[in-house]
Structures are given as C-alpha cells and as structure tokens.
Symmetry: none
Subunit: 196 residues, 2 copies
DNA sequence: TTGACCAGTGTCCGTCTGAACACCTATCAT
DNA sequence: ATGATAGGTGTTCAGACGGACACTGGTCAA
C-alpha cells in the first residue's frame, strides 16, 4: 500500500519535473518520463501516489496537483553513513524544509540580509532571514527592527530596563534607540544558498 | 504595458484560484472565473500577464505556470520603511524556501551538522546542510565527505594535486586522506532554525 | 473625423487529454 | 499447481483543450 522502491524512483522523477515545470505532467508526459508505453500505467501510478499522499486532485477534479508530502526531503542521520552510499537513504526520514522553518505562514516573511553586522552569529550578507511578525520579542531573540527607516537585524538586548539592539560584530556599536523601538518581527530561521 | 486596474483584478482572481487548486486554470476555466465569453480573451489575458512577468510557460511550452511575481503580495499594512528590502511574503506559496534551495529534489539530502569545525564559515552545530549528490565537486566547494565511516562537512581544497578537506576553524587540522577521497555530495544550501 | 489600438466575441479545427476496457505477466500466498 | 493481486500494455473514444482567424465596439490621440 505504501510506496515501494520503484514508485519511490518514479516519484523522484516527478519531483524533478515539478521543480522545472511547477506542475504535475499529463499522463502522456508521465509515460515519457517513466518510460511507460501505456497511459494506463501512468494513471495507475498517480493513483498509487495519491493513495500514499503525494499527489491529489484539484477541488474541481480536473487535474493532478502535488499534495504536502510531495515536498518531503530525506533527512539523513549524520552519524551513520554505514559505508554504502545507498545505506544513507535507508537511514533517512522524511523532512519538510518549509514546515521545519515556517510555523505561521501567514505571518512569515523572508528578508535578505545585508551587511555583516551579525557575522559572528553565523549570519552572512546574502542569507535570507525567516522573520515572523506579530510575535512578542524577548531579550536574546534576533529581531528585525526598524531604525532610521531601515530594516536592521540585531539581537534584542535589555540595558537598564530599556531595549537595545546588539550587533554580533565587534566593529559595530550597540544601538540605543532614544524613542520607541519599532520591532518588525522575530527571526525564526535562516536560509542560505551556495552557488557552485 | 504594465498591468492596469482590470488586469490587476483578474490577477487577483487567478491568485485565489491558485491557492485553492495550485495550478493555472485552463483557458475555459479562466473564462468562467473572469466572466469571459471567449477563450481568446482568456488567452490574451494570460499573454498580458506573461508580459508583465506574472505567469510563464513550462520549459516544454505545454502549459501556463506561475512566475515569481505571481506570488508577490503587497506588504502594505504597518508603515513599512521606504526603500525597504525586497520582502517576499510566504502565505500563498508555502513552498518557496524549498524552491530556493533545492534544485534537484531526487538527488538532494538534508544532513544535520554536528560539531563546530565550520564555525568560521557561519555553519553551526544543529544547522541542516542541504546536500546535492552526484554533482561534480570542485576546489572551494563545501562538500560532505565520508571519512572514517562518518559524514564530514569541509571545504574541498587542492594541495599539490591532491584533494584535501579544509575545516573553517583554526582548532581543527586539514584532513589529508591517504587513499581515495570519498565525496558524498556538495553542499548547496543551509537551513537554520531559531528556537524562541 | 478619422484611424489606430486593444479588450473582448464567435467560430472552426486539429490534437492532446483522460476515461474505460480487455488483456498480459510476474510475484506470492495458499 | 493455482488463483489472486498488481504493475504494465494496447486500443478505442468522447470531449476538453489550445491555436488561429475574422470580427466588434470602445477609447484616445492626431
């Protein structure tokens, strides 16, 4: 009932196709992708995947669309490569990147990081900060504040009862806002991409 | 050439449809949605939206798919500073992070980072490395290698014609493998979560 | 006034699509 | 041995789909 090895491979092909084309292909294209000779095979495959929770039908029932599980990735257990590369896939559990880092989608925004004021916290220029708005910030949180009409990512500190913004880079000074400190949101995650 | 008021409204309908069905509807359904009587109107609308960068064709040119601008949302509420950095709202498209960091789903594995040997590169213990397998690694890439039957994340260096593994932490030595260097994959991304 | 432009109409047509059905053939428990 | 099950083939068929084309009616600048 669950997905066997072959279906897993088919699913991988579908996922690759989806990242390129952002849609589930037609039955004919599924045949081309998987090497099927008959559209019936493609349809049965999709039904199997639907049963396993990877794809579903639109509300109007006129097309296939990815279901949440479609975007699962494999999380390896770093401790055990166990020699064989294949084994790494065995010791892996499903993992959803977006769910991992985004808890409140409607209140979450991505903000590119500029500058190196947080470099000592492992936050580089060009990284993307995952920021949750409307959440109460407390001492020690990394927050995106609005200072001088600009976004600033800093650690929220407390100094004699007043909030201050602490950079993680000795070259930058602690910011002590005179008026009210306007906090845009709390940083809940970080995403970085390595070009290569 | 840009979008006028009416097209803006049409786009909103399309976006609503997309959040329900996660696909761009067929020309006929566009007609139903917008109240068109002729499919030609629908097609021309899509062409206009394509021109404005909201939708695009699949690589195989056999269907419409949303383009990046399709997921734009006005961040209008709450006085946003002028010249604010490009903030992509999530909400409508819950899978943006995944797109951002994963290019080849079938070959991508998430591996939790252990230890602080890459701390100077902004990679902390507990972070999750996004690793692409089967991609040729070259000097300067961050790679996951298999050393002593364990995963190791290091920079791939070249030393007198031999590959070496360079940690980004002065407390760790450069690893010079005697035999063949077994490379599991190339690090293409990083995901971190801040508990709060 | 005129003409260009553009959103939208109406219609035709080839083809791509998905549904349905009969059939084949490994695998596997009985 | 023998069914039953399940993945896959081959074929037919109605209709949905998108492309193309001629046309209409507003708007706006010349």
């Amino acid at each position: 009932m669950a997905d066997n090895d072959k279906d897993r491979d088919y699913l991988a092909h579908l996922q690759d196709y989806y990242t390129d084309s952002r849609r589930i292909p037609s039955l004919q294209r599924v045949c081309e992708l998987m090497g099927f000779a008959s559209k019936t095979a493609a349809k049965k495959l999709l039904l199997r995947l639907e049963n396993a929770g990877y794809v579903e039908r639109t509300p109007d029932d006129d097309a296939w669309i990815p279901a949440p599980r479609f975007f699962e990735r494999m999380l390896a257990e770093s401790a055990v490569p166990a020699g064989m590369p294949v084994a790494a896939e065995n010791g892996a559990e499903p993992f959803m990147l977006d769910d991992y880092v985004v808890k409140k989608p409607s209140r979450t925004v991505m903000i590119p990081v500029k500058g190196d004021s947080m470099i000592d916290a492992g936050i580089h220029s060009g990284d993307i900060a995952v920021v949750e708005r409307g959440t109460g910030a407390s001492k020690g949180d990394f927050v995106v504040a609005i200072v001088d009409n600009e976004f600033t990512l800093k650690e929220l500190g407390l100094e004699r009862g007043r909030f201050v913004l602490i950079p993680h880079n000795p070259a930058y000074p602690i910011i002590r806002p005179q008026g009210e400190l306007e906090i845009f949101g709390v940083m809940v995650g970080l995403v970085r991409r390595y070009a290569h």
